[in-house]
């Protein structure tokens, strides 16, 4: 048991190290940041001074170890454009992104799961067709386009909801709805697929033979067994969205992490980009571990 935990921790650390190193490499590949900071009129001397100030004149390997050491002591560096610690800025934005992702995933689950279950229990029915249509549309409509259409309808045309920015529940509705469509489609499709597999299992016939109600067969026996893959997808999707709800945040001027990442990239603020990538990687790896832990908690066979 202890051995298994140690192996698990080692694997997590290695994964993180690889992610962190890729983030570092990407930061160095995107050109000279002093050009965008100082503008085209700066002299070579000014640039050299700035490079020295940022530590960019050091050998690459030394920069890398500096950066690694920083991460392990909780120092993600300072932003080049905001003159603030990256970590503080990231933590300022996280609550907004969490709100958005949480609300979006909630909508996705509340609609996607029942629709998938209905489709699986009534194969070939209108519910089934609705679920297929949703799966197709949800996975093919571009998020930014959907966002703009919703703004056009609800904000511009009908004036029901604000078109952007944050602050109230009304502000959250459109971005959350926009964000929910893709995971909703994914959840509905996966729920339908796993449910229709489980419903063919002999223990479902056995439950019917015992006289259990249709509701308790579908939810207690079938869905309980079909829920693991769905749960996995929900958590992993949430992980992806946490670090990159860029399109939605951009369309709705939502002050989350995605917006910050966009600003950082536009300004070649490579320490901030790196910090956001590292933060995303850590979140994703930890959520992956959470999925495994949940599996073990829920499924007696995995224990």
């Amino acid at each position: 048991m202890i051995r298994r935990i140690l192996i698990r921790v080692a694997a997590v650390l290695v994964t993180l190290l690889i992610a962190i190193s890729i983030a570092f490499a990407l930061g160095r590949l995107s050109g000279d940041p002093t050009a965008s900071i100082l503008g085209p009129m700066a002299t070579e001397g000014q640039r050299a001074d700035l490079r020295a100030e940022l530590g960019l004149d050091q050998p690459l390997l030394l920069q890398y170890f500096d950066y690694l050491g920083g991460i392990f002591t909780g120092d993600l560096g300072n932003s080049l454009q905001f003159y603030q610690p990256n970590l503080t800025m990231i933590l300022d934005r996280v609550p907004f992104t969490l709100q958005l992702v949480g609300a979006g995933m909630l909508i996705a689950i509340v609609i996607g799961v029942p629709l998938g279950v209905l489709a699986a229990t009534r194969e070939g029915s209108w519910w089934d067709r609705a679920a297929s249509a949703l799966a197709l549309l949800g996975q093919s409509i571009p998020v930014f386009w959907l966002g703009m259409m919703l703004v056009l309808l609800f904000a511009v045309q009908w004036g029901l909801l604000p078109a952007g920015q944050s602050g109230s529940v009304q502000h959250l509705v459109l971005p959350a709805l926009t964000m929910s469509l893709y995971p909703m489609a994914h959840v509905a499709r996966l729920t339908r697929a796993t449910m229709s597999d489980v419903l063919r299992e002999p223990y479902i016939d056995a439950a019917r033979a015992r006289g259990l109600s249709a509701g308790s067969i579908v939810w207690k026996h079938a869905f309980k067994n079909a829920s693991l893959p769905v749960l996995t997808i929900v958590v992993l999707q949430a992980g992806t969205l946490l670090s990159g709800a860029v399109a939605v945040e951009y369309v709705y001027a939502w002050p989350g992490l995605g917006q910050l990442a966009l600003q950082a990239i536009q300004f070649r603020d490579f320490p901030l980009v790196q910090a956001i990538v590292v933060f995303g990687a850590i979140t994703f790896v930890l959520l992956n571990q959470l999925v495994d832990l949940l599996h073990a908690l829920i499924d007696p066979r995995v224990r």
Binding site: A209, P300, R301
Partner: protein
């Protein structure tokens, strides 16, 4: 006896007032389904009739594909039926609503071929019992979990096990325990031992025999094994290609088989040659 089902109210559906007629009465049952690839109509069961009196144990034998399981599933209203009439515990399945059929289920328990497959992998033995007790509080109050497990010769430590922690024989005993808990009037057992080790098969069969003797329930026993049926069943029905070729009291049929196919099955029985020589 069975004519009472016409227009009678089924509200008072307790077993005490049930008629003393056949527990299962099948008239001219036909089950057809389309083959998946060729789309041609396939007759799995072709015109089978059967009447089971209380206390009867009827063995249905035949090779795989002879329609035994299809018959059993149709008889319990779990599987499809093309035509024919089925009266289960005196009630015509055609006249029963879904709710009424569901109310009848506790009286008719099914033990399936694959014990692991027929247990929910996420449900412990204890919570499986609990589910049934919640469903039928009165009917299941006659015993507690430990005594019930004892009856199928399992220890109380099994209560907290999940299906994957049970051997095939243990899992089938749990399935039988669940069936017994409901105090059914009819048990339908579909090859309950064919998935088990030979050494365990005899135990499980003994258990079924004892349980029947204790409870007075009837049993429809599906098997491909004549030796088992001879051992367990008062009556036997031999099926071939969806039709009954021979039926009657077990000893009668097996001692003086009239149909070639029955003789073939008998000859294939283990020990048959040895008995002939003697």
């Amino acid at each position: 006896m069975t004519s009472t089902s016409h227009g009678t109210s089924l509200v008072g559906a307790d077993s005490s007032s049930a008629p003393a007629g056949p527990v299962l009465d099948i008239t001219d049952l036909v089950v057809e389904h389309r083959r998946e690839k060729s789309r041609e109509l396939f007759r799995a069961v072709g015109g089978v009739s059967l009447s089971m009196q209380p206390g009867d144990t009827v063995g249905v034998v035949g090779e795989s594909g002879s329609g035994k399981t299809t018959l059993a599933m149709a008889a319990t209203g779990l599987g499809p039926r093309t035509s024919g009439k089925i009266e289960l515990l005196g009630r015509d399945l055609d006249t029963l609503s879904k709710q009424q059929l569901r109310a009848l289920r506790p009286e008719v328990q099914v033990v399936f071929q694959d014990p692991h497959g027929s247990l929910d992998p996420r449900q412990s033995v204890r919570s499986g019992f609990r589910e049934l007790r919640r469903l039928q509080p009165k009917r299941t109050s006659w015993t507690d979990d430990v005594a019930l497990l004892d009856q199928v010769r399992l220890g109380p430590e099994m209560l907290d096990r999940y299906p994957h922690q049970l051997s095939g024989g243990q899992a089938q005993r749990v399935c039988i325990a669940r069936a017994l808990l409901m105090r059914p009037r009819l048990i339908v057992a579909d090859e309950p031992t064919s998935g088990l080790d030979v050494s365990v098969q005899a135990d499980v069969l003994d258990l079924l025999r004892e349980s029947l003797a204790d409870s007075g329930a009837s049993m429809l026993f599906i098997s491909h094994d004549l030796a088992v049926v001879r051992n367990l069943c008062s009556h036997v029905m031999v099926m071939l290609h969806g039709e009954v070729v021979e039926a009657g009291p077990t000893e009668e049929v097996l001692n003086a088989p009239r149909h070639d196919y029955t003789r073939k099955l008998l000859a294939a029985m283990p020990g048959a040659r040895w008995r002939e020589k003697r």
